[in-house]
């Protein structure tokens, strides 16, 4: 089977009071197996919305998404975790939902996230770096074919960044990634494709360098 994620004429609008705000207007995008796609755009351009649509968290207003591969939940701040629960409780929930082996997952997540005893404290007490480590560890405990990363990767310390490099770009180099980031160096180093979200539309340029140049002149 042809493995890709396709957005077909994807539109999304939100109701704000009585008015309707269109965020994405008939977007077409295809992410193939192994693609590392960077998504650039000004604040409020709809990057997170696009990621949430692809992850199936938000539903499109019109158009559709064809998922020919398994797509992770969007790795972002907030989302996916219950702040009042501990990292450990969140892990148990994920294990139950996705039917994972508890001990194996616990070992992996503890080894990857290195949260130590704070693993048993409520997630809302974590620093943003610790939240990012937990989010990555838990989503890497499940083998998705396409990972959705909304900013979180940038807040880790050097050691965590190295871990992510090994796990995500080393061991899982065959996977697809969709990364939202304002860090141009990171996009340059990791992505092989890059799109810009602007004025409700999506634009792809022939090279990463060109899209960054365009983005900086928006």
């Amino acid at each position: 089977m042809y493995q890709s994620v396709k957005c077909l004429d994807l539109s999304k609008s939100f109701h704000i009071g009585r008015s309707r705000k269109i965020v994405l207007d008939r977007i077409n995008l295809e992410i193939k197996k192994g693609d590392k796609l960077g998504v650039l755009g000004r604040n409020g351009a709809g990057k997170s919305t696009l990621i949430k649509l692809i992850g199936g968290v938000e539903l499109p207003t019109s158009g559709r998404i064809e998922r020919g591969m398994t797509v992770s939940w969007p790795l972002a701040f907030g989302g996916a975790f219950q702040g009042s629960l501990s990292g450990h409780d969140n892990l148990r929930f994920i294990c139950r939902v996705y039917d994972l082996d508890y001990n194996e997952t616990l070992d992996y997540v503890q080894g990857f996230a290195e949260l130590g005893r704070q693993f048993y404290d409520p997630v809302k007490t974590y620093s943003s770096g610790m939240q990012a480590r937990l989010a990555f560890a838990l989503s890497l405990a499940i083998e998705f074919e396409c990972y959705l990363i909304d900013e979180v990767i940038m807040v880790g310390d050097a050691r965590f960044t190295q871990r992510c490099q090994d796990e995500l770009f080393g061991k899982r180099s065959d996977r697809s990634l969709i990364i939202v980031s304002h860090n141009m160096n990171f996009i340059c180093e990791t992505c092989n494709r890059c799109v810009i979200l602007h004025n409700k539309k999506i634009e792809e340029y022939s090279s990463i360098e060109e899209s960054i140049r365009v983005y900086e002149h928006l």
Binding site: T70, G79, Q82, S84, L85, D89, L100
Partner: protein, 282 residues
């Protein structure tokens, strides 16, 4: 049988692969749904009651304080008999079902918006969320109610039911009706803010319609139809028929209960399966 056998052969990597949840058979979907509901119930217990002190025992503790509190206060303050029926028995048979229904309804208001982080996981659906929440409420209140009932019988404040079968059947209808209410209320409050605000008032105003504090027979004949059209009042009458036997003239109809609960269930299911697009993801 076959699936559990296959599961044990899943090696680390295969078991971790998200792709095995991708295109499930009907049986697999069902197993997944049960697993998700179980995960949600466990999670709900931990969020609501935490891990400190008696923790999950609060599932029973909360409704027991309610039911026992009301039973004790009413027993102490009101005459020991009302229309020839023991006051405690009236309170227990009325207040326990009422608590079950009201708690299920209360937990259903905006149940999805407050839990929107769960919807990050595509295996979790709104139907799973509301079933999990309501089940926790039902299990807690039924256990609490059994303890209050047992305690009242033991202390001789009420007699054991005349016909346990009718009590169980009535309780089953109360539970059925509570699930219906939860499905409908959770879906509607997600669609309309006005309705969300109106719910607490509606909850109070509907109290006389629940038949929790009166028997239909005691109501003037030309008003009885109101209670006869209320599923909860019907179910409570059925429970009281089981408790008091020949001492009461019950007004209920099992075909009506079956029909009304099933119609409401279908409406609730219909609304819940279409609620996803109305949920605000925070």
């Amino acid at each position: 049988m076959q699936s559990s056998e296959r599961r044990s052969h899943l090696l680390g990597h295969e078991r971790r692969a998200a792709s095995r949840h991708a295109s499930p058979s009907l049986l697999q979907s069902f197993v997944t749904q049960l697993r998700v509901i179980y995960a949600l119930i466990m999670r709900e217990i931990h969020t609501r009651y935490g891990r400190e002190n008696i923790g999950f025992l609060w599932v029973i503790g909360e409704p027991i304080l309610f039911c026992a509190g009301v039973a004790i206060v009413w027993t102490a303050m009101r005459p020991s008999h009302e229309n020839g029926l023991k006051m405690t028995a009236m309170v227990v048979t009325g207040y326990v079902p009422l608590t079950l229904w009201r708690h299920a309804m209360g937990r259903a208001i905006k149940a999805y918006a407050v839990n929107s982080s769960l919807l990050f996981h595509r295996l979790v659906t709104p139907l799973d969320i509301i079933i999990a929440r309501t089940t926790l409420e039902v299990v807690g209140t039924v256990l609490a109610g059994s303890l209050v009932l047992g305690g009242s019988i033991f202390l001789n404040y009420m007699d054991p039911p005349d016909d346990w079968g009718k009590v169980y059947l009535g309780l089953a209808f109360v539970i059925y009706f509570s699930y219906d209410t939860a499905l409908i209320i959770s879906a509607l409050t997600e669609r309309s803010e006005l309705l969300e605000k109106a719910m607490s008032i509606a909850g109070y105003l509907s109290l006389p319609l629940t038949g929790a504090f009166t028997m239909t027979e005691w109501v003037p004949a030309h008003y009885r139809w109101i209670l006869e059209w209320s599923p909860l009042a019907n179910a409570i009458e059925l429970i009281r028929d089981g408790e008091f036997g020949l001492k009461v003239v019950p007004h209920y109809s099992i075909p009506f209960l079956m029909a009304s609960c099933t119609v409401l269930f279908i409406i609730g299911l219909f609304l819940t399966l279409r609620v996803r697009e109305h949920i605000e993801i925070l």
